[in-house]
Amino acid sequence: MTVLRRLRGDRGFLAGAVVALLMVLVAVAAPLLAAAAGQDYTTYHDNLLDSARGGVPLGRFGGLGAEHWLGVEPATGRDLFARVVYGARVSLGVAVGATLLQVLFGVLVGTAAGLGGRWADAALTRVVDLVLAVPSLVLAISLLAIVPTDWPRPLLLAAVIAILGWGGTARITRGETLSLRTRDYVAAARLSGAGRFRIARREIAPGLAAPVLTYAALLLPTNMISEAGLSFLGVGVRPPTPSWGQMLSTATTWFRADPMYVLVPGGLLFLTLLAFVLVANGLRRALDPRQSEVLR
């Protein structure tokens, strides 16, 4: 298991993995953590706000204290700890969901293009080019604005991000498939009478695992940025469901009076993203040691 040994020796990867795991735990255990703090993310605390200053939290550092571990939100007084903890669910959930969908679409289309005939390859490659040529952020905003507001928002976000972003995975899978199918062991399988599907499943798929995994690892933080951006623009999850991007959007009107409200969700978002990028980077170095260069 040289891969595992390489990963264990990679300090960046280890640090990233620990933080990433911690964030996943926080997201999963959000209700427990909020309960442990004795707070929830919807209760307003008007008494903790300075009405003379337009609703800025009373006290230093955004009302931070034993009662409210990270202070409270300006204007509403909702507990910030409970909100960022629940926000982790949206951030991670949407990113993981979108990544899984992208990998699913991408691998299916990519292997079909790589193993199919000339015409299937040409047609699918055109489709992938089309997906890659679409202004995804602009289109995502439009799509999310059109759909009715009562649809389940997190699912929708994951779906939209995935639909607009599976092109890269498909392109990489196709390339790898084209190179794998010329290998001797694939030829041997074909000569022994294996059908296309059997070859795809038994011979090609194992070879795809490493490149697809490294690519998907980098897709995850990218998707997280997309979710945060869309929520920031107001087309993400609907209030009162909290999301880090949405909180940062509110923070644009409050950062002068209450910097804590920028630093808490912003810091968490950055930390989580950095952790996942470090994990992706470590995976790449471990799985593809020839490419010592960072990323890409």
Partner: protein
């Protein structure tokens, strides 16, 4: 070459066609009626029918779309009370919200987005190539580390977070700069640059890291090539080798990347504009989306699609121009 351009153009038309069709289809399927919003409170059924007719949303979706395409190519006439008003080609219709021609709205907003994107790109190229060359020559180990760290961080910070932190630092804590508000270049170039400085930096951070890494890799790769060894054997001065030979090889991949990036930067300027309150195309889109202003949304999306396709074509042509070995397909 001409065949290539024709194929490229065909592909571009196809992409834009698909985009507009998709948006029209989705808006038509969506249950909200834009005419009710335009008509406002105390709307009578008669008035609503009138508004729907004036907006052109009383016809079936396919007819609406056909009108739209015809308007785009050859202009079209809109009923406005007893008279008609002419919307010259390329007509993208009138905004449901402000009743202004979408084409003009886009043209009004484009200078802001272009200022933002071009400035950020120039900044990213200068800083990125500079840092990449210095760290590629292994002159400064600490610079190497900074570039490495920035590359990682560049993947990990969303544009709007950088923007917020910059505002917090330079406008609130240090008070070195005023809060950005757009001043046209033609009015006051200095104020234009001063107000756009923070948005430029925010938008350039990620690109800078990418360019620095690419330049560094390119320099190291080229320096290991045979023609460099030959030049050294001829006794050419090291500075000349680096500037004339190594740099040229190293910057090749950057040329095409820049063309593609420019379009990407323009679309990600949506976030920067919203963040800093700059009245660009992105801000127009975000506003229009909340008002279900279909003509504006379609217009902005088509413009973005056009930019990306154009950028890709330019990138291919540039690539061909700087590296004759490449064949266009």
């Amino acid at each position: 070459m001409i065949g290539y351009l024709v194929r490229r153009l065909g592909g571009a038309v196809l992409v834009l066609f698909g985009l507009s069709l998709l948006l029209y289809g989705l808006f038509y399927l969506a249950p909200s009626d834009p005419a009710i919003l335009t008509c406002g409170k105390g709307c009578t059924p008669d008035r609503l029918a009138e508004v729907r007719h004036a907006m052109g949303v009383d016809e079936p979706a396919a007819t609406q779309y056909a009108h739209f395409v015809r308007g785009l190519v050859g202009g079209r006439d809109y009923p406005a009370g007893p008279a008609t008003r002419h919307c010259p080609a390329p007509c993208l219709g009138y905004s449901f919200e402000t009743d202004q021609p979408v084409t003009r709205l886009l043209l009004d907003r484009l200078p802001v987005s272009a200022s933002l994107a071009l400035g950020a790109e120039v900044l990213a190229l200068t800083a990125g190539i500079g840092a990449g060359v210095l760290s590629g020559l292994h002159r400064y180990r600490w610079l190497d580390r900074i570039v490495n760290g920035l590359v990682l961080a560049g993947y990990a910070v969303p544009v709007f977070l950088v923007g917020l932190l910059l505002l917090l630092l330079f406008c609130v804590q240090l008070q070195w700069l005023p809060f950005p508000s757009y001043v046209p270049l033609t009015t006051d170039p200095l104020a234009w640059a001063q107000n756009l400085l923070l948005p430029w930096v925010a938008l350039a951070v990620i690109q800078t890291a990418a360019y620095a890494r690419l330049t560094r890799a390119g320099i190291q790769e080229t320096l290991a090539e045979e023609h460099i060894r030959t030049a050294r054997a001829y006794g050419l001065p090291e500075r000349r080798i680096i500037w004339r030979r190594a740099l040229r090889g190293a910057l090749l991949p950057l040329v095409t990347l820049t063309a593609i990036d420019l379009a990407a930067v323009m679309t990600s300027a949506v976030l920067t504009e919203t963040m800093f309150g700059l009245p660009g195309v992105g801000q127009l889109l975000v506003g229009a989306v909340n008002q279900i202003d279909l003509p504006v949304v379609v217009g902005v999306t088509l413009l973005a699609g056009l930019l990306i396709v154009a950028a890709n074509t330019v990138a291919d042509l540039l690539y061909r121009a700087v590296d004759p070995r490449v064949e266009l397909r």
